[in-house]
């Protein structure tokens, strides 16, 4: 499983980490070494498996007095349902709680790989994964808007209550911000956070090796660099949880915007 990063201990450390560091080699020992099964693929499958198995096991024999697993599963679901779905969308939000909870858990676990030893990279640092999640949210809020309001949804979403002479400017801006920037920013926010997090950790870890190899003056500073890595790992954990939350809250708020009556 440790591939790609094993070169770290070599004498020649490729110091400024680059985008190439995100393209990991294949991990199947047989066949041509293509890009079809890398650590990213494995981590994706693992996250899906972990989530499915965890929630199945935790809720297999539900008890009135929950045990630890059931308590954890229930408090995650309860958090998303009460604090995200119902708070943002209102009473109707309960309907969307299962999707939002799966979204939250999936993003959280996918992000968490970024700081778990030996995994150390989040699949979400490849934009393909956040993009698909953003497209799902995008299709969902547009579909909900049309199914709730019919063709009037276009007017609702694009024409804000404003004097007529300002509308030629406002309508394109609304269109741009509601239907183009929303999915794009959802995807880029998650991707760039994970990308930057991984990059930061790489800079400080590899920077430590680069300095210890450079000369005697710089060698002690490498310790500082590695201490920074540890501190940044904690920061990364905060960002991981925050981004999972933000993605879910924004999806909920877009759904709420589609379901709302008028402006």
């Amino acid at each position: 499983m440790v591939t790609g990063q094993t070169t770290v201990l070599a004498v020649d450390v490729p110091f400024p980490p680059s985008v190439e560091d995100f393209y990991l080699p294949s991990i199947v020992p047989w066949g041509e070494h293509g890009v079809w099964f890398t650590k990213i693929t494995l981590l994706l499958w693992l996250s899906v498996a972990i989530l499915i198995i965890f929630f199945l096991v935790a809720y297999r024999k539900p008890k009135l007095v929950p045990d630890k697993k059931q308590w954890l599963a229930e408090s995650i679901y309860g958090f998303v349902r009460n604090n995200i779905a119902v708070d943002m969308i209102g009473k109707e939000g309960v309907k969307f709680a299962p999707y939002l909870a799966s979204l939250f858990c999936f993003i959280f676990v996918m992000n968490l790989w970024g700081i778990i030893p030996f995994a150390q990279i989040s699949p979400n640092s490849h934009i393909a994964f956040p993009m698909i999640l953003a497209v799902i949210s995008w299709v969902m809020f547009i579909y909900l808007g049309f199914s709730r309001h019919g063709i009037k949804y276009i007017k609702m979403a694009l024409v804000p209550p404003a004097p007529w002479f300002i509308l030629p400017i406002l309508v394109p801006i609304e269109f741009f911000s509601n239907f183009i920037v929303r999915p794009f920013s959802l995807a880029v926010r998650l991707f760039a956070n994970m990308f930057a997090g991984h990059m930061l950790l790489l800079v400080f870890t590899l920077g430590g090796f680069a300095m210890i190899n450079a000369n005697a003056l710089l060698a002690p500073i490498s310790l500082l660099s590695w201490l920074m890595t540890i501190a940044l790992t904690f920061l990364d954990f905060a960002i991981i949880a925050l981004q999972a939350y933000v993605f879910t809250v924004l999806t909920a708020s877009y759904i709420q915007g589609s379901l709302a009556e008028g402006h």
Partner: protein
């Protein structure tokens, strides 16, 4: 003998400049939240989702800077 040299891309400077705006913006978002919470502590829970939405919307500007830095890294430079 060279004492020090700087190599690399000026994009780093550009990104540093570009991060000022979102930095100020994120600061304003949290400042407003702290102020509103200090004035009316019971509103903390109500305004919290808006805090994170505002934070996320502003923060994305800085993150776009990171993303576009890599997108345009290969673009030809015209003098």
């Amino acid at each position: 003998m060279t004492l020090a040299e700087v190599v690399g891309s000026t994009a780093a400077i550009g990104y540093g400049l570009a991060a000022i705006g979102p930095g100020v913006g994120v600061g304003l978002v949290f400042a407003a939240y702290i102020q509103s919470t200090a004035r009316q502590p019971e509103s903390a829970r109500i305004t919290q989702p808006f805090l994170w939405i505002g934070f996320a919307v502003v923060e994305v500007l800085a993150l776009l800077g990171i993303a576009f830095g890599f997108i345009w890294a290969g673009a030809p430079v015209t003098p």
